[in-house]
């Protein structure tokens, strides 16, 4: 039982990282209707920037904050100068553009900082604490809490501020938003920037565990996409819950299901997707989208 609870807590913490990445994907999808496959790549780049800053003697917390600011700017710039051209066109082309961006970012990171694993200092200590008689690692709790805090902030931004209202308006209907005088272009940049910043948080939190490599988040991207499919593209809450379910289930499956083990646990979300797609194609929490011809 002790082990079981540890596994669940650890699963929640990795699930939180997937959730942050998945939320970033949903954020971009709601604003522009496309899936950004470079979301993980952007996060890795942010983690590299933070790592590079700490090597220059910048304290870790400040380095991570700076990398988040950097990501926001980079996300906004990518939207303005790269994606803007493809947003109105064929969505498949736009997706290929994001895949090109992923390749490019991976290439840049590999070229600047080599493909070797780098040690990223952990924000939280690796000690364990006793919680209700069960020992769990501080890092897992810290990661989960940090991401929950970020999500609450994001929710507050979207629900309680004028900027959030404007962002939601652009997501619902860009044309009407433009007619009401909203600067749609700049709001899209903000949306992409927020998504990239969210990814940067995830990158900084997961980098100590995975060690920093250009392809560090390739697997996490698969988990995040699985969470997006399971939760439904229209439901941020659903996506977060799905990411947590995936994180916990893959951890449990790795230990308790003999055939899966640690090397094949990446198959768990895939199997889940299969079951869900066949039983409930709109996702666990999503709405059916009806399109008028």
């Amino acid at each position: 039982m002790d082990k079981f609870i540890q596994l669940v807590v650890d699963g929640l913490s990795t699930g939180s990282v997937y959730a942050a990445l998945a939320l970033a994907i949903v954020l971009v999808h709601q604003a522009t209707g496309l899936i950004n496959f470079a979301q993980g790549g952007l996060a890795v780049l942010a983690a590299y920037v933070a790592w590079w800053l700490t090597n220059q003697g910048v304290p870790l917390v400040l380095a991570i904050l700076l990398s988040i600011v950097f990501s926001f700017a980079l996300g906004a710039l990518v939207e303005r100068y790269l994606m803007r051209r493809f947003e109105r066109g064929d969505p498949d082309t736009a997706v290929v553009v994001t895949i090109g961006l992923l390749t490019l970012i991976t290439g840049v990171a590999g070229w600047l900082w080599t493909y070797n694993n780098q040690q990223f200092p952990s924000l939280f200590s690796l000690e364990t604490v006793s919680l209700l008689g069960v020992s769990v690692s501080i890092r897992s709790i810290g990661t989960t809490l940090a991401i929950v805090v970020v999500m609450v902030l994001l929710q507050a931004l979207f629900a309680g501020t004028k900027l959030g209202l404007a962002l939601r308006a652009v997501a619902v209907n860009p044309q009407s938003a433009a007619f009401s005088g909203l600067p749609v272009g700049r709001l899209l940049m903000v949306g992409w920037g927020l998504a990239a910043a969210l990814g940067a948080v995830a990158g900084a939190l997961v980098a100590p565990q995975l060690t920093l490599t250009p392809g560090m988040l390739d697997n996490a991207l698969v988990y995040a996409l699985a969470a997006v499919i399971l939760g439904g593209l229209t439901s941020p809450v659903g996506v977060v819950v799905a990411a947590w379910i995936i994180g916990v289930l893959e951890n449990l499956a790795a230990v308790y299901v003999g055939f899966i083990g640690f090397d094949l646990k990446v198959a768990v979300p895939f199997i889940l997707i299969f079951v869900v797609l066949i039983v409930r194609p709109q996702g666990l929490f999503g709405r059916k989208v009806v399109v008028r011809v």
């Binding site: 496309l34 899936i35 496959f37 790269l82 051209r85 493809f86 064929d90 969505p91 498949d92 082309t93 997706v95 290929v96 553009v97 895949i99 090109g100 961006l101 992923l102 390749t103 490019l104 970012i105 991976t106 290439g107 840049v108 590999g110 070229w111 080599t114 493909y115 250009p214 392809g215 390739d218 697997n219 991207l221 698969v222 996409l225 699985a226 997006v228 499919i229 083990g261 090397d263 094949l264 990446v266 198959a267 979300p269 895939f270 997707i273 299969f274 797609l277 066949i278 194609p281 709109q282 989208v289 399109v291 011809v293």
Partner: protein
Amino acid sequence: MARVVEAPASSAASSFRRRPWVRRAGPLVLLVVLVALPLMLPEGANDTLARIGVFAVAVLGLNVVMGYTGQVSLGQIFFLGLGAYVTAYGVTNDWNIVLVFVLACLVPAVVGLVVALAAARLGGLAIAMVTIALPIVGVPLAKRLSDYTGGSQGLSARFTDAPEGTGLYDDQWQLYLVFLIGGTVFLLTRNLVRGRYGRAFAIVKGNENVASSMGISPYRYKVLAFTIASLIGGVSGFLYMVVVQYTSPETMSFGHSIELLVAMVIGGAASIVGSILGGAFYVVVPDLTNAIDPSLTALLQGALLLVVLFLLPGGLASLPRALTRGRRRSRAGRGPAAPPTTPSSTTGSGTAAEEPETERQGHA
């Protein structure tokens, strides 16, 4: 295949190509070239050509689902790997080679069918989001099933030594095999995408709602396109074993999957010629960048892909057409000074009228 391979070279002279004797002789000339080429080239060139053929077939498969049907797939390399593993396993167990070939086509096709049945249920980009998992799950799966796949060590199988009595070297024999099997696949696929199914694919790509209002089920055609793509991927896996004779989990890594997609877009989406160019890109460019600096490969590929998407969305295959259009536009800009009777301008306008018929199926 013959006429298509010719197309980029001869696009400037298509009025010449329309003459009946040229139409009949063209394929014949190409056939002679294909037969003679392996005999004349050095071993290294034969090997490179054979590898280009292998990946041209893989890119062609990707083109069926992505270029012609508009469904982004990030898992094509998985089917190549699957076909290669089936081939290697069959050969090491001394199965009949024809049976091995059939299995190398069928097993990936069935797996592709099952994946597509689930993935195509969600509209939009679900196929991309699900297929990205194929290489990422495939690599650890191949390592795990080490009884069949040889684990991380991989499997090697030699079954394509030149038969005694032909007097051919191994590389020549392998290249002939690639030409024969790959050429057949290209011909069949060309007929497929130009016929009834190709038109249905194009409508599904253009607008799913229009497709279903015309009685064309987008779901069914997406599944069909994906299954065919998987089958062609399996064939390319068989050819991979013919040429490389070794496969490991690394064959179907995520990076290669992305490279394949990059190659397809740069070669030219929804184009048969583009598939060959894509195969060439896949094989030649890493060789070139490795010669310069291995750590630059990913960077250059990403940058190239973005540049192509910005400047030439149709890929390299659309280059001749884009050039003709540019030339015509600049000539039109010069106004009446360009006399319409000069011989050079008749070839130019002749191309513009003729070219869309041959390569534009997918844009309908």
